[in-house]
Amino acid sequence: MTQLPGPTAKKLGLVIDLDTCVGCHACVISCKAWNTENYGVPLSDQEPYGADPSGTFLNRVHSYEVQPAQGTAQLVHFPKSCLHCEDAPCVTVCPTGASYKRVEDGIVLVNESDCIGCGLCAWACPYGARELDAKEGVMKKCTLCVDRIYNENLPEEDREPACVRTCPSGARHFGDLGDADSDVSKLVAERGGFDLMPEQGTKPVNKYLPPRPKDAEPQIDILAPFLEPIAQDGKGFVGWLDKALSALPGGAK
């Protein structure tokens, strides 16, 4: 089972738009809430009201500051959860077979009842996408909401990951990245979606859309200044105004 199924035809995953993510953490909490109540053991919290609170989260939003060689620094909010890699090292290292990648859609899951909590899969993941739950001692990770996306107890429109459903700015997209005609694949093609740490050879399914270019510096053209003045002062303006008004419909005075 820790053998990878080989390239799956269907590659369900997320596309995250770094141009749009405002860093609100909504996806972080809706993920925590859904996955605490659903798939497997709850995501526990240690010292939740104490000096050093910490807990299990399957999705976390970082932020980075990027300083271009020229111009102002930019800030990029950066959500990160499991990328459901095609060559998932977290799966092959697992000694128990608890970690596996689904044949039918490529989702990488942990079968908690087989997990011994050795942590090796988390070591193998370059992205920090797996967290060992401190209370239950089993490995937790993004399930791509496998218990939502096919769930017949949910209305059809809700069969998408909790984080995608909740994202206020629409920065998260869910779909089949194995299908070149899917909306997500088109988005990736249009916007130049990229992989995180491609050199790690994990072949992530999730893609990131880069921030659009920012802070276009104004270029002044001496011959055609931004706005041609029509007057220099109030008086001149009134003169212009009278002319302009008479040009408006019904304006002959």
Binding site: V28, D52, H62, Q67, P95, C115, I116, G119, G128, L196
Partner: protein
């Protein structure tokens, strides 16, 4: 990486134990009766104790049996199988020596190969990890093997083998440290590839996702001060390699030998502490900690 006592103890003592089993298996020393019993007890206490220690960091040790199932892909699974197989084989081999006074040489050689395999698979658990560039290198299994064999030889009183192996291991260790310090940088993984934002400019972690700590930070982000590291390396080298060799080069004395063993163990513990504590996991990049 977090230098958890359980993994440090595990790698140190199971290394020694399997190292000693190797020498017993190849027949470098062929004790019998009570003395065989003592030798094997030492080897098993070290090997099994180490293995048991490693289960302390498991969330569900009671399910450990499941860990034998994934030998096709998982080095950890392979290690488990190799370790148990070796221990079983060597148990028969040992029983022969203790009770029958007979050496089943084939069994011994098989056990020795098993011990080597076990040590190698243990090393490969770490060396396979591309996420930890310092480990992802041939020096990791090479060091594990030479250290285990050297330590085993030392335990087993194989003076010249010990001197040779420990000298080799010491050299390898120096090389591994020197290379290891650069390997993260050379791995090709950096802030730019981690975030994909390098084309815009220089990337710096601004705000972490949580102000508190989390499993990833506890497990993967451990920073050892430079000066501290240099001191520890000197201590590790002195205790683990130089001092035992020097003690063995002196005219033989049991006291010296015992000192050499303890010194070596202490040194290896430090080596292993450094092995983990200095291993930078690429996930630290996301936290701006590399």
């Amino acid at each position: 990486m977090h230098p958890a006592p359980s993994v440090i103890i595990f790698t140190t003592f199971s290394g020694l134990g399997f190292g000693l089993l190797f020498w017993l298996g190849v027949g470098a020393l062929v004790p019998g009766g009570l003395s065989a019993f003592i030798w094997f007890t030492i080897a098993y206490v070290a090997a099994v104790g180490g293995l048991l220690a490693s289960t302390f960091h498991l969330g569900h040790p009671e399910r450990a049996i499941k860990a034998f199932s994934q030998w096709q892909t998982s080095w950890l699974s392979r290690e488990g199988i190799a370790a148990v197989a070796t221990l079983l084989i060597m148990a028969f081999y040992g029983a022969g020596l203790v009770f029958g006074g007979t050496r089943f040489a084939a069994l011994g050689w098989l056990g020795a190969v098993g011990a080597l395999t076990t040590i190698f698979t243990t090393a490969m658990i770490y060396a396979q990890l591309r996420t930890v560039p310092r480990w992802h290198h041939w020096t990791t299994p090479a060091l594990f093997l030479t250290l285990s064999l050297g330590g085993g030889a030392l335990l087993g009183g194989q003076v010249s083998e010990t001197i040779g192996l420990l000298a080799l291991a010491g050299g390898l260790q120096l090389y591994a440290w020197a290379m290891g310090d650069k390997r993260f940088q050379r791995s090709g993984t950096d802030m730019d590839t981690a975030t994909g934002l390098g084309h815009i400019g220089k990337v710096r972690a601004f705000e972490p996702p949580h102000t508190g700590t989390n499993y990833l930070m506890r497990e993967f982000i451990h920073v050892v001060g430079r000066r501290h590291a240099v001191q520890l390396r000197a201590i590790a080298l002195g205790l683990g390699f130089v001092l035992p060799v020097v003690l063995l080069l002196l005219p033989f004395s049991h006291i010296f030998a015992v000192f050499a063993v303890f010194s070596h163990i202490a040194g290896v513990l430090v080596v292993r502490w450094l092995f983990f504590a200095q291993a930078e996991h690429v996930v630290g990049l996301y936290y701006g900690k590399r």
